[in-house]
Structures are given as C-alpha cells and as structure tokens.
Symmetry: D2
Subunit: 284 residues, 4 copies
Amino acid sequence: MGYNVRLSVTCPDAKGLIAAVSSFISMHDGNILSADQYVNRESGRFLMRLEIEGEGFGLEREEFGAAFAPLARRHGMEWRVSFTDTPKKMAILVSRYDHCLIDLLWRWDAGELDAEIPLVVSNHPDLAGRVEAYGIPFFHLPVSRESRAEQEAQVLDLLSDHGVDFVVLARYMQILSPKFVSAYPDRILNIHHSFLPAFVGADPYRRAHDRGVKTIGATAHYVTEDLDAGPIVHQDVAHVTHRDTVDDLVRLGREVERRVLARSVRWHLEDRVLVDGHRTVVFE
Amino acid sequence: MGYNVRLSVTCPDAKGLIAAVSSFISMHDGNILSADQYVNRESGRFLMRLEIEGEGFGLEREEFGAAFAPLARRHGMEWRVSFTDTPKKMAILVSRYDHCLIDLLWRWDAGELDAEIPLVVSNHPDLAGRVEAYGIPFFHLPVSRESRAEQEAQVLDLLSDHGVDFVVLARYMQILSPKFVSAYPDRILNIHHSFLPAFVGADPYRRAHDRGVKTIGATAHYVTEDLDAGPIVHQDVAHVTHRDTVDDLVRLGREVERRVLARSVRWHLEDRVLVDGHRTVVFE
Amino acid sequence: MGYNVRLSVTCPDAKGLIAAVSSFISMHDGNILSADQYVNRESGRFLMRLEIEGEGFGLEREEFGAAFAPLARRHGMEWRVSFTDTPKKMAILVSRYDHCLIDLLWRWDAGELDAEIPLVVSNHPDLAGRVEAYGIPFFHLPVSRESRAEQEAQVLDLLSDHGVDFVVLARYMQILSPKFVSAYPDRILNIHHSFLPAFVGADPYRRAHDRGVKTIGATAHYVTEDLDAGPIVHQDVAHVTHRDTVDDLVRLGREVERRVLARSVRWHLEDRVLVDGHRTVVFE
Amino acid sequence: MGYNVRLSVTCPDAKGLIAAVSSFISMHDGNILSADQYVNRESGRFLMRLEIEGEGFGLEREEFGAAFAPLARRHGMEWRVSFTDTPKKMAILVSRYDHCLIDLLWRWDAGELDAEIPLVVSNHPDLAGRVEAYGIPFFHLPVSRESRAEQEAQVLDLLSDHGVDFVVLARYMQILSPKFVSAYPDRILNIHHSFLPAFVGADPYRRAHDRGVKTIGATAHYVTEDLDAGPIVHQDVAHVTHRDTVDDLVRLGREVERRVLARSVRWHLEDRVLVDGHRTVVFE
C-alpha cells in the first residue's frame, strides 16, 4: 500500500537549510511531493514541511530517525516525522453541544479526516448515542467542582490507554489544568466561539449581541495554560444584523465554529500546522 | 426636478404604528417607495424608515413638520425628515493617512455618495493637494498637546460656518473631547482599524500581528464620549496568514477600512442608520 | 400556545398598499411584528411580507381568508397566509450523496428548521439508516431509464399521501419532468453545485477545475421546467487554489452546498422567499 | 542597496529538482528567503519560485544566466530571473471607466505596487488629467472600426519604445488582436467584470441582474487569443440582493474589480504567478 512521509522541521535560520534537507531526501531517492518553508524574520526561526512519496524512498520508516539525526543535530533542528498510512489517534472531548462533534464525525465518516478516533469523552451522558452510532466508544466521566482533579486524571488515563496523540475540544465546557495541557503540548485543539481576542471568556454571543457587533466569529487554537490565549490556527466570521437575536448569533455561530474547527483539525492531522512561539505557521 | 422624502421614526412599540404612519402618508397622496421597520423586543422600541416619492405627495416640505407633529406627539415619536435633493453637508477630518480620504473623494466624484463636501480639515498639511484637486476647500489646523482645546474650537467653528451636519473621521488621529462629540450626536462616524471590541486603542495591526490572528478587520462606528465604544455601523474582515508582516496587515487593512467606511458613509447619507441605544439598526 | 400569522402579498404597485394592508391588520387589533416590502420598478409589482402576533389578533385563522378577500380583490393581490404553529410539511429527495441530507436532518433536530419531515424519498437504498435514525420514514423508489415516468408517479403519490407542501432536492440526481414540477410550483428547492449560471449541467467541479477557477460556489434555486434556470434563492462561494484537486473542490463544495441549501430551506419555511418573475425577493 | 533575486522554474517533474536548485543556490552562498513549489500531477509539470537575498549571493546578476544554464538544460527547465531593484515596466490601458486605473495609481503611489509605470494609453482622452497628476505620461490613441489595426500598431510601438514588459487592461474596452496578444504572452492582465466562466462577453452586470443572481464577481486573467478564456489569476465576489439594481451591481462590482485586479497586479509584479497550461499557479 502506498504511503507518504511527512517531515516537519524547525531550527534557527541559516543558509543552505533547504539544500541540506532536500539533498538528504534526494540522496535516499526520495520524491518530494510538496515542500513548504517559512522564515520568521523576527525570531530567526526556519520552519519547513516536506511530503515525500514512500514508494521508492530508500529509507524504511524505522531507519529514518537514525539517518536524519546527524543532519538535524548539526543545524539544531527540532523535527517530527509521520507516515500517512499511520493516521493519528484523535480523541474528542465534548459536553452537551453536539454541532461540532456531529460535524467532525460526519467528515471523518466521509473520509475528510484522516484519523483514528479511538474514543469520545464527555462530562455528560447525552451524546453517547450519536457517538456509538459511528462505532466509536463513548466514555461518560461526570465532573463536579470537587471531583475535577480526579476526573481529569481519569480522562488522561483513558487517553493514554487508547494511545491518543491529538485531543480536540469540540465545545468541551471545562477548563483544563496545566497538568493536562502539558501532557499534550500543541496537541490540544479548542474551538472558541468568538474571533479572539474579542470576547475572551464566557458567553461571547451574549456579549457580542450587547456590544452590537456586525460580525461574529470563531477561533480554533491550541490550548495553553493561558485561557483563550494559545496559538491561533484558524478564524472565520459571519455577518450579522440588528435583526439577529442572541439565539440567531448562536445558530449562525455554530456554522462558523464547525467550519473553523473542521478545517483546523484537518490541517493538524496533515501536519500542516507548526507552532512558532505563540503564533502558528499553517502550510495549507 | 424629482426628489424623495425620507422619514425616520423611533418610538415606544405599540399596535398600529405602521398603519398610522402609512395611512398618514397615504392620506396625503404619498407613494411609499420603500418601507423598513424593526422592533427591538428588549427595549420595546419601534424604528421605521420610509422613502416617499416627492412628486404627487400632497405635503410641501415646509408643511410636513406641522402636519406630522400631532401624530408624532400621540405616539411619542422622535422623527427626522430629509429630502433627497438637499444632500447632507459632510465634513471629512483627516490626518496623514490618505487611503480613506482618497477613496471617499473618488466615490463622491463618481456619484456614489450623495453629499456636499464643503470642507476637509486636517491637523497636517500633507493632503491639501489631494483635496483641492477635487475643488474642495482644505483647512490645515495643526494641534499640539497644549493647543488641543483651542484647535477643537476652531474646527467646530469651521464646521458650523459651513453648515456641516455630518462629520467623517477618515483616520483622524486625534481624540475628540466630549464637547465636540456632543455637538454632533450620532453624526460623527469613525473608522477604527480593528474588528472592535478586539484591539481597542492604539496600534491594532501591531497587536493583531503579535497575537497571531488569522483575520483582521475594520469597524465603522459613531463616536461617543467612550473611546471606541460607540454604536457600530459596519464591520468587515480580511484573512491573513503567518506570512503577513505588520506592514502587510496595514496594507490589507487599508482595503477593509476604506470599504467599511465608504459603505457606512453611504448608509448614513441615505438615512439608513438609526441609533438604538448603544447599537445601530441599519436598513440596507 | 402562542403563534404568529405570516402574510405574503403580491400585486400591481399602487399608492396606499402598505396603508391598506397594515390598517386592515390594525383594525383587527393585530400587532405587526415585522413588515417588509419591495417594489420591482421594472415589472411594477409590489411584494410584501408581514408577521403578526396571533395572540390578541381579532381574526381566527379560519376567518382570515374571508375577511381579507375583499381587500385582496380590490388590489388584484395574490396572497398567502401561514401560521407558525402549523409548520410546513417538507419532503427531502436524495440519491447517494448524504452531506446535504445529514446537515438538514441535524439542523431540523436542533430546532433550526421549523418543519415537519413526513418522509425522505430516494432512488437508492443507501441512506435509509441515516434517515430512520431520526425517526423519519424512508422510501426507496429505484429508477431506471424505462421506469422514470412510473417512479415519478409513485413519488408524487407518496408526497400527496403525506400532505407534503415543500420538496427539497438534497442532491437528488434525477431530472424532474414538467408534470412533477408543475405539481409544486415554486415549492421545489434544488441545490446546484456551482454558482449558476456558470457550469450549468453535469459535473461542475470537474469543469471548474479544468477551467482553473479560483472560486467555486453553490446555488439554491426553485425548480422550473428549464433545467438549472429557475429563480435563484441564494448563492455562496469558497476560494480555491491551484493546489486543490477535483476531489478537494468536491469536499470544499460540499460545505458551501449544505450552507446555501440550509439557509434557503430556512427562508422558505419562514415564508421569506417570494418569487418575482424569474427572480426571487428574499426578505431576510 | 539591498535587493533580492527571484527565480521561477518550470520543467517536467523528476526526483531531486528541489535539491538540485537549492544546492545550486547554496553552492553560491545564496540565502533563500522563500521557496514555493508545486507539482501538477495531471500534466507532470514541476513549478518553483525562489526568492534569494542579493547580499552575499555569489553570483552577480549578469553571471546568473551562464551559471544556471547547465542545470536548467539538464532538467529541461524554462526559467526566469528578476531582481527586486529593477521593477517591471507596467503599462496601463484604459478607456473611460476610471475606478481600476485610479485604484492602481493610488496603490502605486502608496508603495503597494513595485513597478515603474512609464505610460498610460487610452482610446479616450477623458482620463489624461487623472494620470498626469501622478506625473505619468498619458497617450490618447483613438480607435474606430476602420483604424483598429493601425491604432494597435501604434500602441505596440509605444509599449515597445517605453520598454514595457507587462500590460494591464484596466477596463480597456477593446478586443486585442492575436498579434498584440502574442507580443506579450502571459504578460497582459485583464479584469473581467464577472466571475468567469459566467457571463462571458458584454454587459455582464445587466445579464447578472436579469438572471437574478445573488452573487456578482470579477475575474483577473491573462489575455489569450480566446476571449475571456485565458488563465485565471484571481476571482472574488460580492453578495447582492433583489434590491440591487443594475446600477447597484455596477457600483458594487467596481469594488470587487479593483480589489481583484490590484491583488493580481501585485502578484504578477512579484513573480508569484506561473502559467501552467491554461491554469495558473499562484505562490501567494
């Protein structure tokens, strides 16, 4: 079966980096299907993403690391490699709102999202049926103020047991502790229902309505310890008018939320998002 | 020459308001060309805009007020009438950035904006040539921290002398005093270079870049004493990527700013914007 | 239980129409919640939509017709009344593509679409499970070139038996006969996967890709005898790049299709769409 | 003064192309500032764009060709090099509509467009003042049915005399002959006032209005012998409603036209557009 190799590289900028990496691939008979790079002039960081055809590539997947390591070391590279026939294991955390969840499940089922979904976890039981209809295990872990630390530990255990490497918060209405966040650095994606940094925090549609905005939005971002301040992956908006009530904003917002989240999830699954300080580089 | 009558009405909501107003028009043989209304259920306010053909209308313009007053009184209406052959007198205040100014002048010259522009005022001399090329008087009134109150008084005098009834801040980089603002309530339109309430205050593009947003925007709003918090008339956005520098955001933002401002100015000139508390109703 | 009355009116333009209709409502103690009107100057047609609070309105629903008829006759009005507690009966016709169907069902379930869905009909059996999960009867009526007339007759019978008053073609890959179309004039809504009139006919994404467009779109329109030429209700687009393959266009297009269709269905269900010749007036 | 070198390459796809080109640059101590590449799988073409820092690069500009030629020959490359301190010479052809012209001139003056504009040519005298206000020579070459060939020859002579390498048709209402087109292959950019392929030919706004579309658009494309069928560089749209008259469509369309044209001109000037058969690859 055919597969591609995806290589992401970040390092201090220097002359000859593209030549070094592409020559390495070429030397091993690799066919580069796509290459993207970006230099952040402010930070002096170089970021690159390559997709290489697996067929004909001279390095077996288990050999790649050892072969690439010396080059990486010389240039101070942080790097990551993935293989398209080994899809990421993506967990979805959800509460009661189902629109983002349903949309992700439909897209996954339609083949838009190249992932395994070993489980969905929720602090409410409501969406079990929806999830199980897709043959995906659903775990209900209720949470109260007192049980928060304990519930989080259970969630982390579940994720670990299922080998999860990417967590999507599809309107999960709980704030994650620093401990949780640090277990999945740059690998927890949240959808916030406003165009950040406007309306940080709770109830953004109500506040957008009160402010009388003519545009509402949604923001997908990686979760960091700092609430709603993580690196933004994608944003989009919808126009609204004075006729739109808070309920209308919620309805129109759902559409933006699911679109923004789905696109971001897809990019993450395809290793298109590189974190660059507190910003992201998205190689669309 | 043909003209239309534009009537805007705001009052407490009640049954029969549309019937009362439209029957009044009908009784005087008026042909209603367009009618828009909106009821704000939260505040219980009724807002309406009518456009009536002048030809055949039984009320001369100087008669209208006396004829309409009893009806208005009965329903507690605030109302405003204007005539399309008497365009508003619009002043433009500007500093050094010329993109919004040039765009407004071009549109005005092309017939998109139905206004007289008796003057442009600036605290810098740079744009005199641009303005005078359109045959519009340009006044340079420099301002320093010390002279602010005095300069504002001069500007107010100029506006008053020229019979101005609408002021556009086309990237005018001065904060207006409450006294100035209260001289033109809901009749000073500002363009802010962010999608408010994100990035209130100075240097929004720099801050947007630092935050790593994927969308920038612009907001046209009426000026109130509360900086950047006045009723929003229109907003729009542009998508940006990690490749866009602060300079790129400025460039892309200019396009959004001028589009948002121009559309808002046009709506204001056509009496399409009614202020409803700290929000606006826009009858597009 | 509270309900609203929706009245749509079309007639030759004349003075006093708004006054006549709103006074009629007022005379019967009706509270007008929203009023929209439009005059087509080219055709001289007047179009109006009113929403009236049922509570306190002096006309029972069975009385409305007789009471309104004389006024309607005097002005040559075509008119239509509906009651918000009697949702329309909407049938969905579908083939194999499920994205529009699923989206409509989800929105319906979420309360976004105020309709009954007595049945879904398909010429393929594939989507039975999806539909029945929502508790909606699914009818599989296969069709071949030879059986087309017969199958259509069966579909029409089913629709009639279920009292359907609105038909949505959610990517139904069959051309309807004039007979079918004439059974539901301006009440069959189709989603075409291009921004009409570009790419009329089959395989628009393939042709869009071949042409190298940078924008793809979708169009919701009422079905007339003239394929892809019926009155357009809504259109929207998505930007694409040279990197997007035909499959990518299909994927991105699905998102536009379902958004455009859902919004159009909602407008139809709320009686916001009036047909005006071969164009539509949409009172959003 | 600093400058960058821009290299564009097109050739049959093969393994090792990125390594070959980037190693060539690296060997000559070049610092690659940005690199983009694309492989068209259908045609098997490889397309690449590099931007290299001039400072420190070991190849003088007059040496580049000779040094790169052997590599190019080996891989069957078509290639093009440009230097950012030698801006392109861009001629603008215009008739009577001024919106695209004015916008381009304003952007050029604001530093958004890195070009020399040695002349503007028009078949009407109207816009001479506008152009000359920017210090740019304006040539009026009227044309009639009989004089078309002769006028075209004059235009070509003018362009040639001024060393023009890029021609922008900013609503130039004349059809260019194949001879003219072949003098500037893929270097004549036209703005068409519809989202092609909808409304090919004359009077698209009128036809859009008649069709009742809800979206209008504009298309920038390179001119080929085949009218309105050249490779598309960029497209964008605006939403319209039933209230918009043909004049409104024209007004709203002007905004889209100038935005689409300006962006396309900028991309061309920065060598970001590569023609790939009858499509374009745009390295934004």
